[in-house]
């Protein structure tokens, strides 16, 4: 059985993620202990809030150096996915960029608002799959996922799926054992539950 650890990144969606794991019958615990995280079969990196606050926390507790060395499947969610990238334009006042974990190349940029595309982007959207991945096994391409974000990652060779909101951005990404999704699978009804079940079933 999967032994899931949720990295305590200080965000507010940790409870909903734990409840989602509970609904799947999976054991999950929250931790910032490097030894506990290394011992997990699967690691979730959630995040809600600002990139600089969360990176400051991960730098402060040493996890920013540990996370890129993990070898088990890891899934970044929302801000947790954005932090997998090299950097983010979401930065503290006085600076223009927040360095990320540097696992996936690319810079996260702010979404541009327009009359038909208010920011934050909040709502249910479909994704276009670019590459096959077991993360999406059994999920119809017509499935909707729930998004809430103001920043988005560029589309690159690591992109598994894109979403269109005034331009295409990375909705799901994979780089070796590191995966990430911009949407919230823990709040994406049946499709999201299936994606999380697929993740904790990964054995590579």
């Amino acid at each position: 059985m999967a032994d899931v650890v949720v990295i305590d990144s200080g965000g507010a969606n940790i409870a909903s993620l734990l409840f989602a794991m509970q609904r799947l019958g999976a054991r999950a615990e929250v931790s910032v202990d490097p030894a506990r995280i290394r011992a997990a079969s699967h690691v979730l990196l959630p995040g809600v809030g600002a990139a600089h606050d969360t990176m400051e926390r991960l730098n402060g507790n040493g996890l920013a150096a540990i996370i890129p060395t993990l070898t088990q499947p890891l899934l970044g969610i929302c801000l947790g996915m954005q932090l997998l990238f090299s950097s983010s334009a979401e930065a503290a006042g006085g600076s223009t960029e927040t360095p990320g974990l540097g696992i996936v190349p690319g810079r996260v940029e702010r979404l541009r608002a327009s009359p038909d595309q208010p920011v934050p982007h909040m709502g249910w959207n479909q994704c276009e799959r670019l590459h096959q991945d077991p993360l999406f096994d059994g999920i119809t391409p017509a499935a909707y996922f729930y998004f809430v974000h103001s920043y988005a990652a560029p589309v690159s060779g690591a992109t598994l799926a894109t979403c269109d909101y005034g331009g295409r951005f990375t909705a799901a990404v994979r780089y070796n054992n590191f995966r990430g999704v911009q949407f919230h699978p823990e709040r994406s009804a049946g499709a999201g539950a299936r994606l999380l079940a697929n993740f904790i079933a990964l054995t590579e």
């Binding site: 507010a12 940790i14 208010p118 709040r187």
Partner: protein, 235 residues
């Protein structure tokens, strides 16, 4: 869904599950007694709702501080919505957005068309205390965005409960000054009202309560109706 303290948690959970299964995209829980009487409420129901819901939900009512909001978000809600406390202390919006990010922070605006234009009302949960807050709706909508609100729910009071349709003119006026999502509230009485709202691009989402509670409109039927009119919905 609106409820008072005496409504038992079992009913809240039952309704939550019903709407989840019917395909609601998001639920908003209004504790309408919390603000006017200035008291704190038992929030243990939130984590029980969070355990059964696999769709986003927002909690509104009586949130006066970062600590109030934190307790709700840590219990598993996605968003918190502030209304009267933000009118009394607008900097509350700044503090909430700085701590949790704009995407968590919804500002509810109860608005009424008057001789002086669209005006913001406060303490609307209690008919005896409901009154003009002294603010212009369009200016307040702009201000809350500048302070960090990530979503505005505009409740058009004259339409609320009468089921004659959303106040599209007022929503269009507010939306013209919005760069964040605008949710329409008040007036839904028939599927046509939802279609008119989206066809005229008067809001980014529609909120309704009584027509769903009463069973007058079934969510799956409404969504199919909208999709048949080429309005994109999750089915």
């Amino acid at each position: 869904m609106q409820f008072r303290d005496h409504r038992v948690v079992g009913e809240i959970l039952e309704l939550s599950e019903r709407y989840r299964d019917e395909g609601a995209d998001e639920l908003v829980f209004y504790d309408i007694t919390a603000s006017p009487q200035g008291r704190s409420v038992d929030r243990s129901w939130i984590s029980r709702v969070a355990a059964v819901l696999d769709i986003p939900f927002c909690v509104a009512g009586g949130i006066r501080s970062v600590a109030d909001a934190e307790a709700i978000l840590n219990a598993g809600a996605e968003k918190i919505s502030v209304n009267s406390p933000a009118l009394a202390d607008p900097a509350l919006i700044d503090r909430l957005a700085a701590r949790f990010g704009s995407q968590c922070v919804v500002v509810g605006i109860d608005s009424q068309s008057t001789a002086e234009g669209y005006r913001v009302y406060q303490f609307t949960g209690d008919p005896d205390r409901s009154r003009d807050s002294g603010r212009d709706t369009l200016l307040w909508a702009r201000e809350v965005q500048e302070r960090g609100a990530g979503e505005i729910v505009l409740n058009c009071m004259a339409s609320d409960g009468v089921r004659r349709g959303y106040d599209i003119e007022q929503l269009l006026a507010v939306r013209a000054g919005c760069t964040v999502p605008l949710v329409a509230s008040g007036g839904a009485g028939a599927p046509e009202h939802f279609a008119a709202l989206f066809e005229r691009r008067a809001a980014d989402a529609a909120l309704a309560a009584s027509v769903f509670h009463s069973g007058q409109i079934a969510i799956p039927d409404l969504k199919q109706y909208l999709r048949d009119r080429n309005i994109e919905v999750r089915l």
